[in-house]
Amino acid sequence: MSVLKRYLLLRRSDALGMGSLVVLVLLLPHFAGNDYYLNLMILALLYAGLASSWNIVGGIAGQFSLGHTAFFGIGAYTSTLLFNYAGVTPWLGMLAGGVISVVFAWLIAYPAFRMRGVFFGMTTLAFGETVRILLIYSRKHVELPYGLSINFKPGLFNMVFEDRWSYAYLAGAYLFVVLVVAMMLSRGYTGFYLRALRDNEDAAEAAGVPVRAYKLLAFVVSAFLTSIGGTLMAQYVMYIEPGTVFTISFSVDLALMTILGGVGTLAGPVIGALIALPLREFLVEAFGNAGAGTHQLVYGLLLVVVVVLLPQGLKGGFTSLRLRLASQRKPAAQQDASLPPGDSR
């Protein structure tokens, strides 16, 4: 306990962020008003958790995975298949999916970590597609409908709830767990190792960082958490099919939300998801009548503008703005401004 207390005293902003998140998740469902907003909020929280999971490997470790849809889909499929065909509770199915995802992540890491940057991304992207094709192919040999529905039998054991509040709390709890794990990985020496290998892999290796082991650690943890998110999403939507859980655009979405908020920071993916999802809904409403595709067109252009103008995301933009204001007020605080923006320390 004293360790935790000391830590929290040392890192006031972490404690503040986590505390406000808990309060937000506990209170917000009551102010959501109607199901539309509550639904949006649940999705935003789930995506915030998923994007934060992606951020562990994609942001903190800088390994740009575009194949996270594979882990998401494995999580969704494992728990649903176990529940529908063997009656296993999704609480266990969730963990089973996580373990399978970890095994897959470990397998694909061997070829993928031979590549860096965009090519790592392309390898993982190919991996995600392969899993989808194999799943569709498996239907030739085993009885499996194209889409799977989860029966609506509410109960804690079935992880199916009648009211949306429970889902909001579940999604909030998921986000909280992911953030705690991400925080543990990004603080302390693990965080230094991961940031070192992100910024300059050769230098990190020369300095004695076990590069491969730590990349693998970030990847495997991220895969596990993404898989859990897949189960939760399946339990909320209650219907899954290869076309919705194994899709490249899902992998891209996670990365995009993280970029929007701020890559490699803890708050970034959360901010990104909490902005991107409502923004998309808003664009659908605003441009829904202007012809198919208009809202996506605007969304794409907005992304381009944000990425080019704020490469460190909204969090990075905010941090550099704050630093600039602070240095105007107190010229003595110059060395503060030399910290790279977007790096949450």
């Binding site: 590549m115 860096r116 991304g121 597609e129 012809g291 595709g293 996506q296 794409g300 080019v308």
Partner: protein, 294 residues
């Protein structure tokens, strides 16, 4: 025996199509070290350009290719001047997401303007859609596509080897800093490279439209194929593009014969296996996949 030969030949012709789809991507990557995730969307625009040229004016896209090439050269210059210029020295993540965002926008622009209908055109009279030789059946459209791939790649190679500008481009692709010290203006080189790269992509799209359907999201299929071809053949290697296309085409054609459902997966399995064994591709320079990305 006959079947094996037929599979091989169809595979080679399909490989020509794949090489064609990848050549612009590889050029831009080789010189500017930018992986253009909007590549598939430019190809899609090329397909629509070929389609509308034929429908509105009756000009066959094979003859109209130079026109489309010129138009797409301008588009490529605008692409660089309007967007990529601001990202070229930024982290690659910025480049990836700027081009991804542009891709989403272009895809939906196409959806908005031309709806989600599948469109194709018949360029050749039905009787000459395929030719037979030595008991093998060859698709004429694919043969022409193969010819275009060979012509475009050799054209680019010739340009790079024999003109001053081409040599400047080559120099930048080999070593940006050294080229700059020798007085090469990288900005000029990048403008021309993006122009040529997008022009090649536009022509490729126009040539593909008689044998593939054009629709707003067609790019996402071809961009994956193009990535696989580029990585297979070697990053930044023009001849590697042809080789990568041929290998992919033949493997896909054989795999499609053995197990039609797993045909799609062959691309990716091939890519993953190759990366595990030889990350720099078949004709690529060793270490290119790491050096290029810093």
């Amino acid at each position: 025996m006959q079947t094996v030969l037929q599979l091989l030949v169809s595979g080679i012709l399909l490989g020509g199509v794949y090489a064609l789809a990848a050549v612009g991507l590889n050029l831009i990557f080789g010189v500017a070290k930018v992986v253009n995730f909007a590549h598939g969307e430019f190809l899609m625009l090329g397909m629509y350009a070929g389609y509308w040229l034929m429908v509105k004016t009756g000009i066959n896209p094979y003859y109209g290719a130079p026109m489309i090439g010129a138009a797409f050269f301008v588009l490529g210059v605008l692409f660089y001047a309007g967007l990529m210029r601001f990202t070229i020295y930024k982290p690659e993540m910025t480049q990836v997401f700027a081009t991804l965002g542009l891709g989403i926008a272009l895809q939906n622009l196409a959806l908005l303007m031309w709806s989600a209908d599948y469109r194709t055109i018949q360029v050749l009279p039905a009787a000459s859609e395929s030719v037979s030789a030595f008991g093998l059946t060859l698709s004429t459209n694919r043969l022409i596509g193969f010819g275009f791939a060979a012509a475009l790649v050799s054209g680019v190679l010739l340009f790079m080897r024999s003109t001053f500008l081409g040599r400047a481009i080559e120099a930048v692709s080999q070593d940006l800093v050294a080229a700059r010290l020798m007085g090469v203006d990288p900005n000029k080189v990048f403008v021309v490279t993006f122009g040529i790269g997008i022009a090649l992509t536009g022509i490729a799209g126009a040539v593909l439209v008689p044998s593939f359907y054009a629709f707003p999201t067609v790019g996402s299929f071809f961009v994956l194929v193009a990535f696989v071809v580029v990585v297979l053949g070697g990053l930044g290697s023009m001849t590697g593009t042809i080789l990568g296309g041929l290998i992919l085409g033949v493997v896909e054609s054989v795999a499609g014969f053995l197990s039609p459902d797993l045909k799609e997966a062959t691309h990716f399995v091939l890519l993953i296996l190759l990366l595990a064994a030889r990350p720099h591709g078949i004709l690529g320079v060793k270490g290119a996949e790491k050096e290029a990305l810093k």
